[in-house]
Amino acid sequence: MAVIAIERMGLLSVVCVSLFFSSTFAVDRGNFKTCDQSAFCKRQRALKPGQSPYRALLETLELSDSRLTLQLINDNNKVHLLLELYRLQGNMTRVKINELKPLRPRFEVPDVLIAEPPTEPLSVLSKDDNGVVLSLGAKNQRLIVSARPFRLDIMQGPEVLLSLNSRGLLAFEHLRLHKDTQAQPDGAEVKESVDGDQQQDEGEKDEDGESDKEEDGLWEETFKSHTDTKPNGPTSISLDFSLPGVEHVYGIPEHADDLKLKTTDGGDPYRLYNLDVFQYELYNPMALYGSIPVMLAHNTQRTMGIFWLNAAETWVDISSNTAGKTVFGKMLDFVQGSSEKPQTDVRWISESGIIDVFIMLGPKPSDVFSQYASLTGTQSFPPLASLGYHQCRWNYNDQEDVKSVDQGFDQHDIPYDFIWLDIEHADGKRYFTWDPHKFPQPKEMLQGLMDKRRKMVAIVDPHIRVDSGYKIHNEITSKDFYVKNKDGRNYEGWCWPGNSGYPDFTKPEMRAWWSSMFAYDQYEGSMENLFTWNDMNEPSVFNGPEVTMHKDALHGKWEHRDIHNIYGLYVQMATAEGQTQRSGGVERPFVLTRAFFAGSQRFGAVWTGDNAAEWGHLKISIPMCLSLGLVGVSFCGADVGGFFKNPSTELLVRWYQTGAYQPFFRAHAHLDTTRREPWLFGPENTALIREVIRQRYALLPYWYQLLYQAHKTGMPVMRPLWVDYPKDTATFTIDDEFLIGSDLLVHPVTEEGSRGVTAYLPGAGEVWYDVHTFQKHNGAQNLYIPVTLSSIPVFQRGGSIIPRKDRVRRSSACMENDPYTLYVALSPKKFAEGELYIDDGHSLNYDTKKEFIHRSLTFANNALTSSNLCPDCNFLTSSWIEKVLILGASKPSKVLLKMDGKETPVDFEFDTSMSVLTLRKPGMNAGADWTLLLQ
């Protein structure tokens, strides 16, 4: 409506003129800092590799059972650091470096680790003047501390797995008094500006000349019109890691970039700083909405991980000695036996806090996942319905609109589980309220959805309208829960409602209060089928520096600078907790977030933010979610259709086909776009979209089981191929196809007008079955697949069993008691295995009361057997097995069902052309023990 336009116009003209006035469709890069514009990054990056000024003072070594401490000294400025080393359970090493005696405490990130990580004893194997050798337990793993210069090496046998400070880039800007700088404007202070200054030898010459420049940004820096007063002065830290034998590193989301991280020589480092980037660009290292400072390193021998626990603005440089080499060059090296081993060097730089690094030593990919999960927790186990299809738009205009969209799905026989309301649903963007004209009867609306066994999500953003007539604002004010500006007054910034306050989610009391606001008697108009979406929680501040909060804003005694990247995590944490609480701790929450940090996986789903209706954005959704999956966040998705702009019909159909095979499956659209409910593009396209949404629903049992697995083990749901084929180098850079679990391989069509795609089917000696035709293909080949608009190439791995519910209904809840069909895809050795997980789909009873069914399904020796993986679990299901399809089978003469000591014959059909054996209605309960014998 025009009024919105006026309101928005007004808001925008005041608020984010520069953001929105670019007429071309691209990010306005000028709004965001490059490394050069971020004073600490510039200072740190000016340091080049060389001899480290740090020395380990071995005489200070103290070793307790689980902890080794040692002082380091910077020979340039004599500042002492304290190094702590821990050997953690599960093949991890923790390295902490802080100032020995900091002027003030430095920030250490709380609430990310699920517990203080359990340690294992460290023992000194040998020690001399040059260093110490520690044992990292079995496997011949050692940690070597070299004293002069200081460095750490982790070895296995004769091999160096990983080195720290091997390039001498450890740099620790110690806390200091501002007057020191004024008293000593030159010489020593300049040298100190980055404590690990390498250029001490030549430094003498440069110092005087550079002193003014180098001081820039130490105590104050200005970006565009925003000045960051830095009352604590320079506080940045840096450390380098060398990874011999590694050519592939992954992770550190969120970036709109390829799966395999690129070297950053000659460009900006990858940046981790949660930002609301308007119309983000693809294939560059700019920061986006979330940050997970975890990097994975992989080669055919080993997978390792580096977890840099720091919530301040962080930059990551990557260089490689093979980066410049062509494949041919590498082959030449190989043939000629070139001595140079490939190596990747990584350098982390953060603006404040301490160095706190977890080195996860694998060695298998699954080990790294469980190692990381043991530190930060696993993916929350979502309600089953949230794995269904989500229909979102900014905005569904009113209750009538919601109702007619809901009816539209039934009229067109398309299943969906959630309909979403964006910011316009609230009364004047006052979250927790409803627009009295458009949504006068929210409970009536929610009840209408409940009658259809469907659900709703309403947005609750963390910016709070400053309005004395608004309960939430008044309570936060009276409880003094707002973030403060540097002068101690409530921090205010512009966001959707206009002038807004930002609750201090780092305060546990604030989070507890926020959680209590989701109680049914507090959140008026809410019901048990209403869930929540946290947007803008970077936090987004339209008139703030880089569209976010001023770094000198205060969260209690800590600066926003220290906590920035974890703010969004806290918002989702408090919201999810509120949802759990409102049900008395019985029901699982569902909360979607845009900003995230390490550990966010524990609180719900993540989406890739405000993408665009462009083919490139469809394509990038794959590496973006793969990268998130590698570092714990499995429940990931991109806005289907693209948020900004209008997709072509072809793009929309292709996006549904892709999104249906990604974990979080939600269509979303900007206010300015034309309507795009699935039935608005003609009957043919409606049918294509319906078909792929139905495929999604049929596979819900598999998705659910994978989310359970992710929740239990940390294994990603949507995976790069190399996770399951770690020795197949051909898989290392693939990011246009992916695995769902281990058993489904998806190669979405992401090119306009595509007539065919080439999918790589991994696994020498393995086979893959086209899930649509049951055609069998050999592994370890590039397979060309002709495609039409209806094609979504998906393959089931030979050797797997996937349970499906082929009776697709209008929502997942309606399918609760439906029977299963087992798709048994035989390996060349006529073997297959899989699992089946069943619970009530929504409560926490699986956890608190062990109310679930978890079964192992194995096909071996011509017998398919279901056995109990959790004998002490109790859950009754009325679901049964209606059909078993065995792909790659030969025709039996007889099929018998063995159950409860009885044998009964089972009808079957055999399709000779595709070698598919169909067992008709064996009929056993899905929770029972049984065996089907093929004779």
Binding site: A2, R453, V808, K921
Partner: protein
């Protein structure tokens, strides 16, 4: 048709007390019962295979077309038939059987889900009959109204066509008249022109003679004045006393300069002074007479403001009748006419030269002028009449060119406007013209689109109007409006919404879309049977 079916079903239900349960597999409609013969092998309805009868509705899908499981959810493409006694029978997708949601009002779809469904068929039937009856009434009345509209439109059209034909005829006559009057005018103007020229020539001659006389007198006077010593000659020194005659205006009139003025002569007599006079007369100041006063500016002619009489509306917003648009048209016409009239306002020919007015035309000339003027006026009047007629014809032809529906039933909407006031805006639909939106409490009007085309479904495009190219949206498309037409007795805008940004949807009822009730005659029979 629907009405009839409904009533017949009701008849069964009422007359037999309870609906008869005819034995057939669950979910099979009566019409398909013959295909499901108990104890005989069942052949899938697509003929793809034959299965034992005990596999019908055994909760396992055997037929590709889903026909073996009409009563279970086993087949993805099956459908379930509910009888819904008391209401309308219907088919639902098999996936809605036992899904915990009551779809059939007779509850038959939820026979095994535990959903607590109540039989609401009777209620629904009553309600629907009520609605249908009302609809039928509306349709009936609407259709009658439509007939009137068609009739009126037909008449109106004929009238207009007749009018156009008449006007075309009149126009021809007018054109002839214009031509005739042009000839008359030209014929009258020729003698007028000649007489005027004659008169002017005579006057010019007379004027020249007078001027010459005056000059001569002046010269003589000057000579006398200059001839200080009254010797009958004007000498160099005598002339030199008149400093104003200085040719180079340097302030001094030198002797040489004076000689130059005098053509080299030392003195001139009255006869030779003539040539000197020519040289000096423009500058010469009489010694006796004061300088001529500057001519007093005469007040400019009062320009007559064109008075536009446009029946100015006392209630501009309230009156939304057709006149308004016409008024606007008329207004334009007035302006046009004024523009054309203004320059032809006659100003009597004047000559300010020497302050002397031309002599009045002699009576003969004046007669010729009057005759010509009348011819001119007559011609212009007729030409104006022709223009007006052209405009009228054009307007009517434009109206006639609109697609007002197969029977011109939408004609009556032309040049009408209909409003709907919501909580924030006043929406205004002027069919075949434009749609607009105006804030209720002040603010300017926004164009939501001008008439584009009929754009209903293929079978009846007259159910939807499309208005396009409205005011542009910020960062968006130009506004446009889709108007959905439904049958109603009254012509009203019933709702507006904006489903997509800047794409408006309007619901509009009009008798013009009311369909002929299919079997109006049969209805009473149905009742009679009761």
């Amino acid at each position: 048709m629907t009405c009839l079916h409904l009533l017949l079903t009701l008849v069964f239900a009422v007359s037999l007390g309870t609906p008869v349960e005819i034995q057939r597999p669950r979910g099979v409609p009566l019409t398909k019962k013959p295909f499901y013969e108990e104890n005989k092998p069942f052949t899938c309805l697509d003929g793809s295979r034959t299965i034992p009868f005990d596999r019908v509705n055994d909760d396992y899908c055997d037929c590709k077309d889903g026909s073996d499981e009409p009563g279970t959810a086993a087949c993805p493409n099956g459908s379930f038939h509910c009888t819904n006694a008391g209401y309308r029978p219907m088919f639902i997708p098999s996936s809605r059987i036992n899904d915990g949601i009551c779809d059939c009002c007779d509850t038959t779809d939820e026979y095994n889900s535990g959903a607590k469904c109540e039989n609401t068929c009777k209620e629904l039937g009553l309600k629907e009959r009520d609605v249908l009856q009302k609809m039928a009434e509306i349709t009936k009345e609407g259709f009658l109204l439509k007939q009137q509209l068609i009739e009126e439109a037909k008449k109106g059209r004929e009238e207009k066509q007749g009018k156009v034909t008449d006007m075309q005829e009149n126009k021809k006559q007018l054109e002839e008249k214009v031509e005739a009057l042009r000839t008359v005018k030209e014929t009258a103007e020729q003698p007028e022109k000649e007489a005027k020229e004659r008169h002017l020539k005579a006057w010019e001659e007379q004027k020249a003679a007078i001027r010459l006389e005056k000059d001569k007198a002046k010269m003589a006077e000057a000579f006398l004045e200059l001839d200080d010593n009254a010797d009958g000659f004007v000498s160099v020194s005598e002339l030199q006393s008149h400093a104003e005659l200085d040719p180079d205006a340097d302030g001094t009139l030198t002797e040489t300069e004076v000689q130059g003025l005098m053509g080299g002569a030392a003195q001139v007599d009255t006869s030779t002074f003539e040539s000197v006079w020519t040289n000096i007369k423009d500058k010469y100041h009489s010694e006796s007479q004061p300088e001529e006063p500057a001519p007093v500016e005469t007040p400019p002619e009062e320009v007559k403001e064109p008075v536009v009489d446009n029946d100015s509306e006392p209630f501009p917003e309230d009156d939304i009748s057709e006149e308004e648009d016409e008024d606007e048209d008329d207004e334009d016409d007035y302006h046009e006419d004024d523009d054309k009239v203004l320059p032809t306002v006659k100003t009597p020919e004047k000559s300010h030269e020497d302050g002397e007015a031309m002599l009045p035309y002699d009576p003969d000339t004046q007669t010729l002028i009057d005759a010509a003027q009348k011819a001119r006026d007559d011609f212009e009047d007729s030409e104006k009449a022709l223009r007006e007629m052209d405009d009228q014809i054009r307007n009517i032809e434009k109206e006639l060119s609109f697609d007002f529906g197969p029977d011109a039933e939408f004609t009556y909407l032309y040049s009408q406007c209909y409003e709907l006031t919501t909580s924030e805006y006043i929406y205004r639909l002027c069919p075949f013209n434009r749609v607009s939106q105006k804030p209720k409490y002040g603010g300017s009007e926004t164009n939501l689109g001008t008439w584009g085309s009929w754009s209903g479904p293929e079978n009846n495009k007259y159910l939807v109007m499309k208005y396009e190219h409205g005011t542009g949206c910020w960062q968006g498309p130009n506004r446009s409006t889709t108007v959905k037409l439904t049958c109603g007795k009254e012509t009203v805008v019933t709702s507006t919404s904006e489903p997509s940004r800047c794409e408006y949807l309007m619901e509009f009822t009009t008798p013009a879309v009311c369909q002929e009730p299919a079997n109006m005659d049969l209805l009473p029979h149905g009742h009679e049977e009761l």
